[in-house]
């Protein structure tokens, strides 16, 4: 299999507040085999997500492979709670874009 971009493989890639001090990211797959392939690829781990967003690993509060939903999910701490003056994304809804072009090895 060739290397593909995550957006070619996932059904949904989204971000959203999880409470006032965290943003959670969901990467959801339609097919079980694709979900398993992405999991096996090792491309999406707490460490690789920290590297992608250029944040220390401690800012990743949770990393879950959620089999019932065929989803990989991770959550980061905000530097300041949502809606503090200067926050550019009160809902945390536009933080997923860097995931779209993530390379998933075949």
């Amino acid at each position: 299999m060739k290397t593909e971009k995550l957006h070619q493989l996932a059904k949904t890639i989204r971000s959203k507040n999880a409470g006032v001090n965290k943003i959670t990211f969901d990467i959801i797959f339609r097919e079980l085999d694709v979900y398993e392939r992405v999991k096996r690829s090792g491309a999406i781990t707490a460490a690789s997500m920290a590297a992608l967003y250029r944040i220390p690993l401690e800012r990743i509060s949770d990393f879950v492979e959620y089999d019932p939903g065929k989803a990989i999910k991770f959550t980061i701490y905000r530097l300041k709670p949502s809606g503090s003056a200067g926050d550019g994304d009160i809902f945390g809804a536009q933080q997923y874009a860097p995931l779209l072009d993530l390379d998933i090895p075949g």
């Binding site: 949904t12 409470g19 992608l52 709670p81 933080q95």
Partner: protein, 453 residues
């Protein structure tokens, strides 16, 4: 009662109007309850702090009208949680007034309107801190200090099922709740009718966001949940939507860091062993959820505190050299602000759209700005006068930034407006904590009135 059916037409009543087609189909399915939550902390700390709604009154009234008329026509209760986005006392009163006005407008037969308040006094919270009952921080917040409490303008407690159950026991036909866990207002009627907490809380969890548990994606459509002694069934009411194993299980992770656990005042819903099964094209059946009650009840508190008055200004940049040096332009303007107002006593924020205005510190492409930028300047200060001048200096001095090799010496930025604009005062989330209570009802004062008599 063998089963109980609840429809939910809106995951955040008022924030955008419900969609009438699927709502009417839901009503035709003869539910036993009609319920929706009207709140969210997604809207930021400003509405709670300044005690306003972020939703327009006309949208709130319209959804309440749809639900009230259907509820009275069917003769089944209607339940609203987290009135008016924040669930503060003034928002409860506003919804109660809207319900009374709608009853008069439509000449409705008399009904019992129950309501409860969720605001918590600072004194109550201070008593806990001083009495050695720590007010515990959630999600990276430290335990609450008196200084943070002093910086807080308004606190609401997140109700669990308790005030809803109490009002149902008293015979309420319509309930307007203060701040509530959205799932609790669906779990409460199920518990009231004797269903097990294992299923009741899951019913609430899956219904809370209406059609967000259905696919294809489309918000504000009605879904119906049905609880029995052994399972929960959830059905999309819009013919074009389906509740599938994927959409229902997927909803458990929405807006949550942990897709297996959901916390309430009084316990935790454990979804680790949930089993999902497609019953028919639009219905998914869920078994295996568990509710684990806590020995001691801890209630979540939300609090917002004012930071200061706020103005905003906008400018654009097109010169590639200036774009490459936009941080120097901003630093120049900051220096002029410091010269006028000193180092502290205010906040000055720059969002650079076209570079990292959306993602800020999380932006990996910060070093690849676009060919034009928009910079939003926000100044926050103790008075409006200072906030306006602060923002004006922070904006206008970008025009005069001194870059050594700039060709365009007539002005470093473009102005779409030669002014700064008043914005809502700036607030911040001061409380995201839990407080232990001996009595689950302590923080929630209920009332019951006759309407339409």
């Amino acid at each position: 009662m063998k089963s109980l059916k609840i429809i939910c037409p809106n995951g955040h009543l008022g924030f955008a109007p419900l969609r009438p087609e699927s709502f009417q189909l839901g009503v035709q399915a003869r539910p036993d309850y009609i319920a929706a939550d009207s709140g969210s902390d997604d809207v930021g700390p400003v509405p709670l702090g300044s005690d306003i709604s972020t939703s327009p009154q006309s949208w709130q009234r319209q959804d309440l009208e749809h639900m009230l008329l259907a509820s009275r026509k069917l003769g089944v209760p209607m339940i609203i949680g987290s009135a008016g986005d924040t669930g503060s006392n003034s928002r409860v009163d506003m919804y109660v007034t809207m319900i009374k006005d709608l009853a008069i407008k439509h000449g409705l037969a008399p009904f019992r309107l129950g309501y409860f308040y969720s605001e918590v006094s600072k004194e109550r919270v201070r008593k806990a801190i001083r009495g050695g009952s720590p007010v515990r921080g959630l999600d990276g917040y430290a335990d609450l200090t008196e200084a943070e409490l002093d910086a807080t303008d308004r606190i609401v407690a997140m109700a669990g099922v308790h005030p809803f159950v109490k009002l149902l026991q008293q015979g309420a036909d319509v309930i307007i709740g203060g701040r509530s866990s959205d799932a609790a207002l669906f779990a409460a009627p199920a518990l009231h009718h004797g269903f097990h907490a294992d299923q009741a809380y899951y019913l609430g969890k899956v219904l809370e966001c209406a059609s967000f548990c259905a696919e294809p994606y489309g918000g504000k459509e009605t879904v119906m949940g049905e609880i029995t002694a052994s399972d929960v069934r959830v059905t999309a009411m819009l013919p074009a939507q389906r509740c599938t194993i994927a959409s229902v299980s997927g909803h458990a992770m929405y807006e949550r860091s942990n897709p297996f656990e959901e916390f309430f005042a009084g316990g935790m819903l454990d979804m680790t062993n949930c089993h999902y099964e497609q019953l028919d094209e639009r219905t998914t059946r869920v078994t295996g959820s568990r509710f684990l009650p806590d020995a001691k009840v801890r209630v979540k508190l939300e609090g917002a505190g004012k930071v200061g008055e706020r103005f905003v200004g906008l400018c654009g940049i097109r010169d590639p050299y200036t774009i490459a040096n936009v941080d120097k332009v901003i630093e120049w303007a900051r220096e002029q602000v410091r010269a006028r107002f000193g180092e502290t006593g205010y906040e000055l924020h720059y969002n650079v759209y076209g570079r990292d205005g959306v993602m800020g510190d999380l932006e990996p492409l910060r070093d690849q700005p676009g060919h034009e930028l928009c910079v939003m300047v926000q100044g926050v200060a103790p008075t409006r006068e200072m906030a306006e001048e602060l923002t004006m200096i922070g904006l206008r001095q970008m025009f005069y930034a001194r870059l050594p090799d700039v060709k365009g010496t007539a002005g470093s930025v473009s102005f779409p407006l030669d002014e700064v604009l008043p914005a809502s005062a700036a607030y911040r989330w001061t409380l995201n904590h839990t407080l232990e209570v001996d009595n689950s009802m302590e923080l929630f004062q209920t009332g019951l009135i006759e309407v339409g008599a």
